[in-house]
């Protein structure tokens, strides 16, 4: 027979579990927090998420503590020892009351997690404040760069974006080609940018500063380099920056834009107009085009030349 007394292992194991469960605490207490973008929220959206995360971590630690304690106690008390050689474990079938308890408590915990989750999920669809008028920035992900267009200001930047602090920003996301995900952890969670359609992500920065953003969804070879900087500025500084761009930046034209779209990496760029003038990738997939009449399936954007043929009646 195998496996007589391995009591030593239990003790060792307990020590390891102990060490593991304090690890997160150590981590939180050490200076790592500023580095930990998600846990260092710099705007209302990220803060709501931070609160949600902390709220859930509380419950999770509780669950972990309960399970680990039970586990340790049981392993120590009920291991096979020379002293209990003729102990015969009882044939228990189960216990309905206990089953109810450990069903009901998790139900409550899940409810406690679900309520704020649903609230936050709905809240993120609207700007965090209605006191300030949001600004709109179109974001186009392309292999492998980020293009930001300001339709109202009529300027465009590549691989960096300026926003006014304290103002909700509606990012209208789309993509040319592979799907990407627009993520600025310190300002809030991400959303996909997809070809031929538009998604919306609302973020806001509390105060001026520089925040790292990147694509969180794999989009091919140079995906790793799809980083961008979000520069939040005081309202006036932002206006000034916009004016500066308008005056000094070159104009973008279709040729140049096509060059930018070519797969590859580019540096930061700034233009005093936007590519939305001639193309909005969010409206590319032909199903979005209003059909004019039956029999005319023509699509101005895509010259998938089909002989215009009358189908059916």
């Amino acid at each position: 027979m195998v496996g007589a007394d391995e009591g030593g292992y239990t003790v060792m194991k307990r020590a390891i579990w102990r060490a593991l469960s304090v690890l997160p605490l150590l981590f939180l207490l050490s200076g790592c927090v500023e580095r930990t973008a998600v846990l260092n929220p710099q705007g209302p959206v990220a803060r709501t998420q931070y609160d949600l995360i902390m709220w859930s971590i509380g419950f999770m630690l509780l669950i972990i503590v309960v399970v680990f304690t039970l586990f340790t106690v049981v392993l120590i008390r009920y291991r096979e020892k020379p002293e209990n050689a003729d102990y015969e474990p009882p044939d228990e079938e189960g216990n309905t009351l206990l089953e109810i308890v450990w069903t009901a408590i998790p139900v409550l915990i899940v409810a406690a997690l679900a309520v704020p989750t649903v609230k936050a999920t709905f809240a993120f669809e609207k700007p965090p404040t209605d006191k300030v008028k949001p600004i709109t920035i179109h974001v186009t992900a392309a292999n492998w760069k980020w293009i930001f267009s300001y339709p109202e200001e009529n300027i465009e930047t590549v691989n960096y974006v300026h926003i006014p602090a304290g103002v909700p920003v509606r990012f209208k996301l789309t993509s040319v080609g592979p799907m990407n995900s627009f993520w600025v952890p310190e300002l809030g969670g991400q959303k996909y940018a997809m070809d031929g359609m538009e998604t919306e992500l609302i973020l806001q920065a509390d105060k001026p500063g520089s925040y790292m953003g990147r694509s969180a969804n794999f989009s091919g070879e140079k995906f790793t380099h799809m980083e961008f900087e979000v520069v939040a500025q005081k309202g006036d500084d932002f206006k000034q920056w916009v004016n500066e761009v308008k005056q000094t930046a070159p104009k973008l034209n279709e040729n140049k834009y096509a060059k930018i779209l070519e797969p590859g990496l580019v540096g930061r760029m700034t233009f005093s107009n936007t590519h939305l003038e001639w193309i909005d990738h969010a409206k590319q997939n032909s199903h979005h085009v209003e059909r004019k009449s039956a029999g005319n399936h023509g699509n101005p954007d895509h010259d998938m030349a089909k002989d215009s043929h009358h189908h059916g009646e």
Partner: protein, 204 residues
Amino acid sequence: MGEAVHRYDETMPLEYRTEENRLNILGFWIFLGAEVVLFATLFATYLVLFQRTGSGPTAQELFQVKDVLIETLLLLTSSFTCGLAIFEMRRGRLAGLLAWLLVTLLLGIGFITFEVREFIHYVHEGATMQTSAFLSSFFVLVGTHGAHVSLGIGWMIFIIIQLLQRGLTVKTARKVFIVSLYWHFLDVVWIFIFTLVYLLGMVV
């Protein structure tokens, strides 16, 4: 397996008389469950995509009631005659079984002929699998069903051959029964194609 395989129970229809047969029939039912999900996935794809016609024609422009109705009636009737075949089999009448299977087969071939004609017509209209998401999903959904029917036809032919070779035995009875399940099931799928593809396509 084991002894049970040879247990012989006179009160049951032939196809259920051995344990092996019962295992096979249950296995086939479960397979049909999987087929339901397979077709459901194709239906889901179709329903998500059918209004995304790109630069191609829409369902309304393409579908024609008459053709579809003929196909439906052919398949529906074939399902009925297949049922009659099993009815005859359970009365122990090989000739009746063969006759109805043959009728079923012919109706099935008729169905496929009409479906192929329908597809050819569409292609002539310039509506191919490559034209739009709508047409891709249409051809693959309806085509998968058609492929199943064609397979069923081939299968039935081989079973008729076996019936002629070996007569009505516990084994051939099982095979006939299973192919009949398959055939009825294809009719079930068609009902939904008729409803969710053709009827819906003509009203939306």
